[in-house]
């Protein structure tokens, strides 16, 4: 067991694992894949002693199935993978959305598509995190920029997952996952943890998929005696399969609505030097590290540059863009992909300001210099 408060040199992957455990995760199922494997290895080592479960499954499909199972049994559960495994998990991610089973899925992004460059950093799975599974579904995805933030966002991810009864995706990138930095670990007893809503009344009045359009219905653990039915089919408030259009409409809209209506509670972003900014960088994850370096260099040159750094990628932080667009601040959006989140930035900017993507897909992190150059070039 770790000491109440401490500063430790940790790798991003370790901080993620530690954060999950501190957030109450006691069930890990996974399948090794670079560059996420350290999370599984950490869990294999640490889980048994703290009363948690670690299992290596036969593949990623089985891994996410197992964590949904673990969560149904009432235990906070997670898995960790990278692109190829994340693609394989898509069907069951949709299942977890549909059955409203909380769980955490960590995707440590690496160079894609396909096997790509397993050890190269990338931010190529951002849109997949939103749209990877078939059908309309809710989506929450967070992306940290430091090892410290990996810890805190993992805790937050687990909390959101419990609060909204939905899978949450932590989008790490290879840089942050393998980076070692000092992390100040808080007293785990003082962490604010969220527990999924559980039923209070009796079996008769219990509606595991009920409630208003904005509500998250309670969920009973298997074994509590509520004898619920979970199905990936469209189902009514009780959990019975249904072909009724009204039931279908209500279910799908509620699933998405419970997250969308509460987007302001979920979304978080940070602004650096935005007060007097005349142009801004919109960046997340490792790209924001290069960006803040570039920002400082630019400020030294007298350029009034700001940084908008969302930690919530989905739901998309529209307001962060709104504010800048309303002020007509042009936005540079550096991403380690061919331009993914910038599509959303452009959409929200809606012509009110210029939006310029900056793409890097050669398996290297942006250097501060190239972001600075882009800022100098203008929009």
């Amino acid at each position: 067991m770790r000491k109440p408060i401490e500063i430790r040199l940790m790798q991003g992957n370790e901080a993620c694992a530690q954060g999950a455990v501190d957030a109450g995760v006691r069930f890990f199922a996974g399948y090794p894949i670079t560059p996420s494997t350290e999370i599984a290895e950490w869990m294999a080592r640490e889980m048994p002693a703290i009363g948690g479960k670690f299992i290596q499954m036969e593949d990623e499909i089985a891994s996410i199935a197992a964590i949904i199972g673990g969560s149904l049994a009432g235990v906070k559960s997670m898995t960790a993978t990278s692109g190829p495994g994340f693609s394989l998990m898509q069907e069951n991610i949709g299942y977890a959305c549909m059955t409203e089973v909380p769980c955490l899925i960590v995707n440590v992004q690496r160079g894609g598509p396909s096997t790509g460059r397993p050890t190269a950093p990338s931010q190529g799975d951002v849109m997949q995190a939103r749209w990877g599974t078939h059908g309309d579904h809710p989506s929450i995805a967070l992306s940290p920029w430091s090892v410290q933030e990996t810890y805190t966002l993992t805790v937050k991810a687990v909390n959101l997952s419990e609060k909204y009864r939905t899978p949450v995706i932590l989008l790490l990138d290879e840089v942050i996952a393998h980076l070692r930095e000092g992390v100040k670990l808080p007293d785990p007893r003082k962490l604010k943890l969220v527990e999924r809503p559980r039923p209070r009344g009796g079996r008769e009045e219990y509606r595991p998929f009920g409630g208003t359009m904005k509500e998250v219905p309670p969920i009973a653990d298997f074994g509590m005696g509520f004898n619920c039915n979970f199905t990936g089919l469209v189902h009514d408030e009780v959990g019975h399969p249904s072909n009724s259009p009204a039931v279908t409409d209500r279910l799908i809209r509620r699933l998405v609505g419970k997250v969308e209506y509460d987007r302001d509670q979920i979304i978080h972003w940070e602004e650096i030097e935005m007060k007097d900014a005349e142009m801004a960088i919109f960046a997340y994850g490792c790209s924001a590290r290069s960006s803040v370096s570039a920002l400082k260099a630019a400020r030294e040159l007298g350029m009034k540059v700001g940084l908008i750094r969302p930690t919530t990628l989905w739901p998309f932080p529209e307001k962060a863009v709104e504010a800048a667009a309303a002020r007509g601040i042009p936005l540079l959006v550096p991403e380690l992909n061919l331009g993914q989140l910038v599509l959303e930035v452009s959409r929200v900017a809606a012509g009110r300001t210029r939006v310029r993507p900056l793409s890097r897909v050669d398996g290297e992190l942006f250097t501060p210099m190239e972001i600075l150059s882009a800022l100098k070039e203008g929009f």
């Binding site: 460059r117 050890t119 190269a120 290879e174 393998h178 070692r180 930095e181 000092g182 501060p368």
Partner: protein
């Protein structure tokens, strides 16, 4: 960069260190230990390493950045301090090093001194490790030598960090290795 050892030159803040050689020489571990020592000294650190097939048997590279405030860009752009334990690594990375950097090489494994304006210390690291007992502690010897030359971190922190990571039963060996490395060189002055 405020090294605790006041006798040595002042490094930029943050200071960028690159440890290079071949897989199996334990350079990643050396990087982690150095980072941990710096953390103990109260610095901010960022430590990374090369992954990928090239890390398999072939070349190996660890990076450490140490600073008095949070590190933004986490990769070494231009090493201020370069350790090279193979000729291949030395030849490859010397070009990236800053002109006024400190370069530490193994005198046996890097027979051809690099062409550079940097201050090169060619030291018998591997040989010393063998003398201390086992070649596997070459990385600890190197750390001792490197800290002697650069004065990056305090010796108690470094020793503590070494011992934190030493496998059971090797504490003494590692202590000896660190001391031997420390003895190999003195600080480079400005």
């Amino acid at each position: 960069m405020p090294g605790k050892n006041k006798k040595v030159r002042k490094w930029p803040d943050p200071v960028q260190i690159m440890l290079t050689g071949s897989g199996g020489q334990g350079l990643i571990l050396a990087g982690i230990i150095l980072a941990e020592a710096a953390l103990k000294d109260g610095f901010h650190v960022a430590q990374t390493q090369a992954y990928g097939p090239e890390a398999r048997g072939g070349a190996s590279r660890a990076e450490v950045i140490i600073g008095s405030s949070p590190i933004d860009y986490p990769h070494v752009e231009r090493p201020d301090i370069l350790l090279a334990l193979t000729q291949e690594a030395c030849d490859k990375y010397i070009a990236e090093a800053a002109g006024d950097s400190a370069v530490i090489t193994d005198s046996k494994l890097v027979p051809n001194s690099p062409k550079t304006t940097a201050a090169v210390s060619s030291l018998p690291i591997i040989t010393t490790a063998r003398e201390v007992g086992r070649e596997v502690v070459a990385n600890i010897v190197a750390l001792g030598a490197l800290n002697s030359v650069t004065g990056l971190v305090s010796w108690p922190s470094l020793e503590e960090a070494v011992l934190d990571r030493a496998p059971a039963g090797t504490a003494e060996l590692n202590k000896k290795a660190l001391a031997a490395g420390r003895g190999l060189a003195g600080p480079v002055s400005q």
